[in-house]
Structures are given as structure tokens and as C-alpha cells.
Amino acid sequence: MFDAEKWGLVWTHRQTFIDGTISTLLMALFGLALAMAIGIVVGLMATSHTKPLRAIARVYVEIIQNTPVMLQALFLFYAVTFAGVKGFSALICGIIALGIYHGAYISEVIRTGIQSVPKGQSEAAYSQGFGQIATMAYIVLPQTIKIILPPMVNQVVNLIKNTSCMFLAGGAVDLISRTNAFAVGEGTGSAAGQGYIIGGVIFFVICFPLSMLASRWEKKLKARDVATVTVRKKPDDVTDAELDMIISGKGGES
């Protein structure tokens, strides 16, 4: 484990890990964009008044959530490749597969978020003359953020980790594939343990701050409610700057 020679091997092949990390991040980034787009559309469909839209959303979510992402990725990759589509790389396959898979989960997060906002909120908006889209945009969705943020970040973290499914579907470009290639490689296989540790550390370094960020943001949003109570008691004594301090959690103690 503390064999300098083996860690030296990892260092020599560092470009392998860097390339893998870049591929994985690219896949995650575009996969997330696609998943968000799908998630918002399907989540809105699932809360619509139109029955067929709700049915389509339900079927999509159930199929995706009840089959393994690995199988979906394999199916996508081989179906499209055998259909003779040129230029369908493992990276693009990963983006689409992860987008579709996590889109289903994100749509459920958004659906439950929307449904947690009391009906009276959208009724108030309709009574003022807001249409359905404006009501969503100005009234309902802003109120869901606090609720959906933690599960949403969980989805992002899972999505990043699920890039590992591309190992079998196309493979060779993402961090897991590269790490494994290193670990089973002829010249590098002796440092397999070190290689896997480095792969894991990279994943951790990417995912851990995300989780931290989410919990801090959540705390900050909750602190705003507390801050307003303070303002209510002494409306004239609290300046905007002080309020910002309270909201950001920096003030209060001293």
C-alpha cells in the first residue's frame, strides 16, 4: 500500500486519470442538463390536469425506475450501434442514457415538490389573473426549491457515480473505465489497488463538496425564516447589511 514505486506508476500514468475525470465530468454535465430538461417537462406533465399527459409521465417513470440503468445504457448503445448510426460515441451514449434515467428520478422530485405546495397558492395566482405557466414560474416553483434541493443534489451525485455504467456500454473513456484499464493493464496491474484508490478519491473530491454545498444552501434558506422573525420584532433596528449577515449565518454570535 505504501510502496512508493506503485504510487510512482500511478503518477506516471496520471494523464489516464485526468482524461477519465474530464470525460466523466463532461458526461455528467451534459447528462444532468438533459436530465433536468426531461425532469422538469415530465414533472410538470405528472401534475397536469390532462389525464393522458399524467399517464405518459407515469409509464415513463415506472419503466425507467424499475429497470437497471446498466441495462438501459447497454440497450441504448447496442441498439443504436447495430442500427448503423455513425459517430455514436460512448460519451454521447452516456449522456443520453443518464439523462433519461435521472430525468425520471428528477421528475419525481419535481412532482412531489409541486404537490407539496398548497392548492390555495395556485388558486390565489389564478384569481389574480396569472395563467398556468406564470403561476408555476412565479408562485409554485420558487416555493418548491427548499424542498427539492437536497434530493436534487442527491440525484446529481448519483448521476456522477452512474457514469460508471458506461464501463460496459461503449466504455474506455470515463473515469471508471480508465481506472479499470489501468488496474488490469500489463505494465500497471501491480498497482491495481493504488489505481482504484485514486479513482475513488477523485469521485469523492467531486461529490463531497456538492453534498456540503446543498446542506449549506438548505440551512441558509431556512435561516431566512428566522431572520424575518428578528426583523418583525425590531423593524427599525436591523439594517439590510445586518440582515444579510443573519441570512448568511455569519452574524449573531459576537
Partner: protein, 247 residues
């Protein structure tokens, strides 16, 4: 006055929820500037009736006209924007916005009024309900009575001529009912405002109403002036209801 004096017109409005028919053929006209109070026992359909007027409930059959515009699901947003506002039993202020933002959101987004102007109008109405010092707090920090007064101010900022009140004092603690009623009574002095109020507050009805409508079992059973209602009701069920509610 001609046709235009009919601000709200309901023609043979039926509304069912599943197998349950809540409104069984309502015909009702509300004149411009009229203060109409709708009373009735719980479950009578009175809330559904007022919610049909701004299409928060879409009638199963029948027609709703607001200022001679035929209501439909598609036209609801447009018609509500220019003609009516509503005050709810549960206040329904937007908790993610400050009081001032609650009052300026719709005028800015829907009527394209500048922020400065919208805020000025909002402050005028906040002053009118006696809560201008609460402009920058969030609604959840306020008492029920204060929230409902803010909700009335929010309804006023759209400067529409019809305001619907759907049991505005029913969710309030008893000691806060009067502060809300006072605001509503003050509003009722304005000749231009058309007010439709679903309420159990008989004192308010007697003081403010031009006309009272008694609803039970999804039908209008009796209508008339407050004098008629409180001294000389004709329908047996009206009598029974009033004898229970007035002690």
C-alpha cells in the same frame, strides 16, 4: 341601466364533483356596485358558487359572464386579470415573498406597471388596511387578522371593480374577526366596488348587503334585502338556518 349594469351573470350553473352534484342550477345576477352576501349552511354549495364566478371551479354545465365576457377555462386568466380579485378563507398570501412583493407581483407582471409605481400603489393600500409598517416582512410572521388584511390590500392593488370574499373571517381567531370586517365595511362604502361575500357574519351581512342570497342543497332558496331576511324570511329552511345562527 342596460345590460352593462350586470357585472356577474350566472345562467343555469351546475357543478358536480364526481357523483356529488353541489350546484343544481344557479341563476344569479350581480349588478355593478352591488354588495351581495351569500349565506347558507356548510356543504350548501355557497363556496363552490362564488368559486365558479372566477372559474376556480369550472361549472359542469351552464354559463358564467363577467362584465358580459363569457367565462371559459382559456379566458379565465384574462378575465380575472382585468375584472376581479379574490380574498380567501386561508388568506393564501405567497410565503416566499415579502408583504410588499405580495402586493406588487401581479400588477408588475400582469399589468406591466413599473416597480416604483406598483410599490407606491401597494403602500397606499397597505396604509388603508393599517399595515404599512409591515411592508418588508414575510407574511408567515403576521397574525391571521393581519394576513387577511394584507390579502385584502393585495386584492385591491389590481384595481379591479369586483372583489370576491370566500368566508374571509372563518379561519380567524375570534378576536381578529372585527379588524377584518372593519376593513370590509370601509370598502363597502365605495359605490364603484362590486362585492360578493360568502360569510357567516350576520351582523356584517345586515350592515353591508344590498341583497342577501340564501343557498342550500345547491340551489338558491331565497333572496332579498337584509330587512326582508332578518325580519320576514319566507322559506322554511331559511328560517331554520337563521334561527340557528342568530342567537
Amino acid at each position: 341601466m342596460g345590460k352593462d349594469s350586470k357585472m356577474i351573470r350566472l345562467e343555469d350553473v351546475h357543478k358536480s364533483f364526481g357523483d356529488l352534484e353541489v350546484l343544481k342550477g344557479i341563476n344569479l345576477h350581480v349588478k355593478e356596485g352591488e354588495k351581495l352576501v351569500i349565506i347558507g349552511p356548510s356543504g350548501s354549495g355557497k363556496s363552490t358558487l362564488i368559486r365558479c364566478m372566477n372559474y376556480l371551479e369550472e361549472p359542469t354545465s351552464g354559463k358564467v359572464y363577467v362584465h358580459n365576457h363569457l367565462m371559459s377555462r382559456k379566458r379565465r386568466a384574462f378575465i380575472n386579470k382585468i375584472h376581479s380579485s379574490m380574498v380567501f378563507q386561508q388568506f393564501n398570501l405567497y410565503p416566499h415573498l415579502t408583504v410588499l412583493e405580495n402586493l406588487t407581483l401581479a400588477p408588475m407582471k400582469l399589468k406591466k406597471i413599473s416597480k416604483a409605481e406598483a410599490e407606491q400603489t401597494a403602500m397606499t393600500y397597505l396604509k388603508r388596511v393599517g399595515l404599512e409598517e409591515k411592508a418588508n416582512v414575510y407574511p408567515t410572521t403576521l397574525s391571521g387578522g393581519q394576513q387577511q388584511r394584507i390579502a385584502i390590500a393585495r386584492a385591491l392593488t389590481m384595481q379591479n371593480r369586483v372583489i370576491f370574499f370566500d368566508e374571509p373571517t372563518s379561519a380567524l381567531d375570534p378576536e381578529m374577526v372585527q379588524e377584518v370586517l372593519d376593513v370590509m365595511i370601509e370598502l363597502s362604502h365605495e359605490k364603484n366596488f362590486t362585492m360578493v361575500v360568502v360569510t357567516h357574519e350576520m351582523g356584517f351581512a345586515r350592515e353591508v348587503a344590498d341583497r342577501i342570497v340564501f343557498v342550500d342543497g345547491g340551489r338558491i332558496l331565497e333572496e332579498g334585502t337584509p330587512e326582508h331576511f332578518f325580519t320576514n324570511p319566507e322559506n322554511e329552511r331559511t328560517k331554520a338556518f337563521l334561527s340557528k345562527i342568530i342567537r
